[in-house]
C-alpha cells in the first residue's frame, strides 16, 4: 500500500515566559514522534488530555510550525513545499474538528460553507456548485433543502455531518479527525463513525483519528499509537495493542475502559498521581512516577520504542 503520510521525529516545543525567572522554559507538547499512515488506513491516536494529540494533528495540518522533525506527504517533505505545492497540500489534507458547534462559520449558509473549498481549489466549475453541494449533502445523509440554512439550525450530529461534507468536498487523500464524536451523544456517535468508515471504503481516504474513547479507536482504527507526555509509548496493529498491550500506561488505559458485562470482575489498574507537567518532564521514563512496576533503570534512562511482535512496539524497559 502507498504511504500517504509519514511523520519523522516530530517535535513541538512551546516557549513559555516566566516573569519571575529569566530562564527559558519549554512545554514539550510533542517530543520526537514518528509514524506513517498508508492509503485507506486509519491510525488511532489515543492518550490523556495534554498528551499532545491535537498538537500532532495541527502540526500535520501545518497550522503550527514544528520545532524540528519532518512530515512527508506521499514521500515529499513539507519543508520543500512552495506556495503552489502548499495549496495542493491543503487540498489533500483536511480536518474534522471536535466541536461541530464551533467549526462552522455561524454567518455562512451551508451552501456557502461547502462552496468555499470548491472555489478555492477549483474542484468544479462555478456552474456546477449547486449540484456538487447537493451531492455532498446526500453523501453525508442530509437533504438539499438544508442548503440555505445556517449552522445554528442544525443538531450537533447534523453539524458534524456538514463538517465531514466540507472535509470531503475537496476530495482529500487524508483527513485528520480530531475527536470528531466526543461532543456528540452515543447514538449519534455511531452514525458519524459509520459514515466515516463508509467514506473511507468508498473514497479510499486515510484517517488520523484522535480520540479519548478506546472503544471508538478500536472500532475505526487499523493501527493505534498511544501518546503520553508528547511521546508515543506504544504503537502497532489495533488488535495486538488492545489484546496484548505491553506498556503499563496502555494496560491502565485499556483496563479503565468500561465493559458492558455485569458478571465480569472489574480489574481496573488505577494510576497513581497526576500526569506530570510537560514543562518538567521526569528524567528517564516519563511514566515512571506513576508506574507500579518501575525499576531503577526507569528513573535514569529514557526507553525507546522496541519491537514486541511484528509491527507492535512499546517504549518500556520491562519488555
Amino acid at each position: 500500500m502507498n504511504e500517504i503520510i509519514k511523520v519523522l521525529n516530530l517535535k513541538k516545543y512551546f516557549e513559555i515566559h516566566d516573569v519571575k525567572n529569566s530562564e527559558k522554559k519549554y512545554v514539550k507538547a510533542v517530543d520526537g514522534i514518528s509514524f506513517s499512515i498508508n492509503e485507506g488506513e486509519t491510525l488511532g491516536l489515543v492518550g490523556e488530555s495534554g498528551s499532545g494529540k491535537t498538537t500532532t494533528g495541527k502540526l500535520i495540518l501545518n497550522l503550527i510550525k514544528p520545532t524540528s522533525g519532518d512530515i512527508f506527504l506521499e514521500g515529499k517533505s513539507l519543508k520543500s513545499f512552495n506556495k503552489k505545492n502548499m495549496k495542493k497540500f491543503r487540498k489533500d489534507i483536511q480536518v474534522v474538528f471536535q466541536n461541530p458547534y464551533a467549526a462552522l462559520d455561524p454567518k455562512m449558509t451551508i451552501r456557502d460553507i461547502l462552496i468555499e473549498p470548491l472555489s478555492i481549489h477549483k474542484i468544479v466549475s462555478k456552474y456546477e456548485y449547486n449540484n456538487e453541494v447537493r451531492r455532498l449533502l446526500s453523501i453525508v445523509g442530509l437533504s438539499e433543502k438544508d442548503m440555505n440554512k445556517f449552522p445554528h439550525e442544525f443538531s450537533g450530529g447534523q453539524r458534524q455531518r456538514i463538517g465531514i461534507a466540507k472535509a470531503i468536498a475537496v476530495r482529500p487523500k487524508f483527513i485528520i479527525c480530531d475527536e470528531p464524536v466526543s461532543a456528540l451523544d452515543v447514538s449519534v456517535q455511531s452514525q458519524i463513525l459509520n459514515l466515516l468508515c463508509d467514506l473511507q471504503r468508498d473514497l479510499k481516504i486515510s484517517y488520523l483519528f484522535i480520540a479519548h474513547g478506546l472503544n471508538v479507536i478500536r472500532h475505526v482504527s487499523d493501527k493505534v499509537a498511544v501518546m503520553y507526555l508528547g511521546k508515543i509509548v506504544e504503537y502497532g496493529d489495533t488488535k495486538s495493542v488492545f489484546d496484548d498491550c505491553a506498556h503499563p500506561y496502555t494496560k491502565a488505559l485499556v483496563s479503565s475502559a468500561p465493559i458492558p458485562d455485569p458478571k465480569r470482575k472489574n480489574n481496573n489498574i488505577v494510576l497513581k498521581g497526576e500526569i506530570p507537567s510537560p514543562i518538567n518532564i521526569p528524567e528517564g521514563c516519563p511514566f515512571h512516577p506513576r508506574c507500579k512496576d518501575a525499576i531503577e533503570i526507569c528513573k535514569n534512562k529514557k526507553p525507546f520504542l522496541r519491537k514486541v511482535t511484528g509491527d507492535h512496539m512499546a517504549a518500556c524497559h520491562l519488555i
Binding site: K58, L61, L63, K87, R90, K91, I93, Q94, V95, F97, Q98, N99, A102, A103, L104, D105, P106, K107, M108, E116, P117, I120, H121, H152, G163, K166, V170
Partner: protein
C-alpha cells in the same frame, strides 16, 4: 404578538425617559438667577415661590409640546436658530462617526495579533494612549498643526470658524480621534477572539488565504462585537462636541447653548438642551437598531 408588545413597551419606556429628562432640564432652567432659600423658625422661605417655578416650567414644557418654540432673548426665532445649528452639529457628528468607524476598524485590524499569541503589544499601546488624552489637547494640537500649515500657505484646514467645508475638517478629525481608538480597541479584541475560533482554523486548513480569512470569516463575525460597542461611543461624541465646537468656534448646537447660557436666556437654553438630549436619544436608539440588525441572534432580545 409578543414581539409587537415588546416594541411598544420599549418605545414607551424610551419616550417616558425622554419626557422626564425634558421636564427636569426645563425645571432647572426655570429657576431664576439669584434664587436662594433659607429655613427661618422652622419654615422654608425662598426668594422666589416654588409654585411659580413649577408654573413657569409647565408653560415652557407645554409650549414645547405644541412645538411653539418662541423667540430667544435676542428676538430671533428659536426654531431657526435650532435648525441652523443642528445642521452644522449633525454634519460634524455624523462625519466624525463615519471617520471614527473607518479609522477604528482598520486600526483595530492592524492592532490584532491575528492568532499569533507572541505578537508585540506595542500597537495596542499606541491605541490605548490616545484614549487617555483629553479632547481639549487633541483640539489644541490640531489647531497648532493648522496654524503651521497656514504659515506655509497651505489653507487646506481652517483654524476656527465656519462657512466653508475646510472649516469642518479639523473639528471632524478632532471629534473622531477618541472614538476611533475606542473602536480600534473593540475591533482588535473582537478580531482576536474570532481568530481563536475553530472555524478559522478550519478555513486555514481548507487553504483560504489570510485576506479571505480576515474578510470572509473573521470580520463577518467580529462586526457584531464592533457594532454592539457603537452605542457606548455616542455619549463620548456628544460630550466632546461641546469642547470641539467651543475650541474651533464652530457655531453648532452646543456653541448656541453656551451663548444662551451666557446671556441668561434660561428658556432658550432649556429648549436647546432638550434638543441635544433628544438628538442623543435618537442617535443611541439608531445604533441599537443597527446593532440588532447586524446581530440577527440578538435581534429579538434587542426588541
Amino acid at each position: 404578538m409578543i414581539t409587537h408588545r415588546n416594541i411598544i413597551r420599549k418605545i414607551f419606556s424610551r419616550v417616558l425617559v425622554l419626557f422626564a429628562f425634558t421636564y427636569i432640564s426645563i425645571f432647572i432652567f426655570s429657576i431664576p438667577q439669584g434664587y436662594s432659600w433659607k429655613i427661618i423658625d422652622g419654615r422654608f422661605v425662598s426668594t422666589y415661590p416654588l409654585y411659580m417655578i413649577v408654573k413657569r416650567c409647565n408653560n415652557i414644557f407645554i409650549s414645547l409640546l405644541e412645538l411653539n418654540l418662541g423667540h430667544s432673548m435676542m428676538g430671533k426665532a428659536l426654531n431657526e436658530i435650532l435648525f441652523t445649528s443642528f445642521k452644522r452639529t449633525a454634519l460634524l457628528i455624523s462625519s466624525s462617526i463615519v471617520l471614527a468607524f473607518v479609522l477604528g476598524v482598520f486600526k483595530g485590524i492592524s492592532d490584532s495579533n491575528k492568532g499569533n499569541k507572541n505578537c508585540a503589544s506595542t500597537k495596542v499601546l499606541i491605541s490605548v494612549i490616545p484614549i487617555s488624552i483629553p479632547d481639549v489637547l487633541i483640539a489644541a494640537i490640531m489647531q497648532s498643526f493648522a496654524i503651521w500649515l497656514n504659515k506655509k500657505d497651505i489653507y487646506m484646514f481652517r483654524v476656527a470658524g465656519t462657512g466653508t467645508l475646510a472649516h469642518s475638517f479639523l473639528p471632524i478629525i478632532a471629534l473622531s480621534i477618541l472614538p476611533a481608538f475606542y473602536i480600534a480597541r473593540i475591533t482588535s479584541l473582537a478580531v482576536n477572539d474570532c481568530y481563536k475560533k475553530a472555524y478559522v482554523l478550519t478555513a486555514l486548513g481548507k487553504g483560504c488565504s489570510s485576506a479571505r480569512i480576515l474578510w470572509n470569516h473573521v470580520m463577518r463575525n467580529a462586526i457584531r462585537g464592533i457594532v454592539e460597542g457603537l452605542p457606548s461611543i455616542t455619549s463620548i461624541i456628544i460630550s466632546n462636541t461641546l469642547i470641539v465646537e467651543y475650541m474651533f468656534s464652530y457655531p453648532g448646537l452646543t456653541t448656541s447653548l453656551m451663548n444662551h447660557i451666557t446671556m441668561g436666556d434660561g428658556r432658550s437654553s432649556a429648549i436647546i438642551i432638550v434638543f441635544i438630549g433628544s438628538f442623543y436619544f435618537i442617535l443611541n436608539g439608531l445604533f441599537h437598531v443597527v446593532s440588532a440588525v447586524v446581530n440577527k441572534s440578538n435581534r429579538r432580545e434587542a426588541i
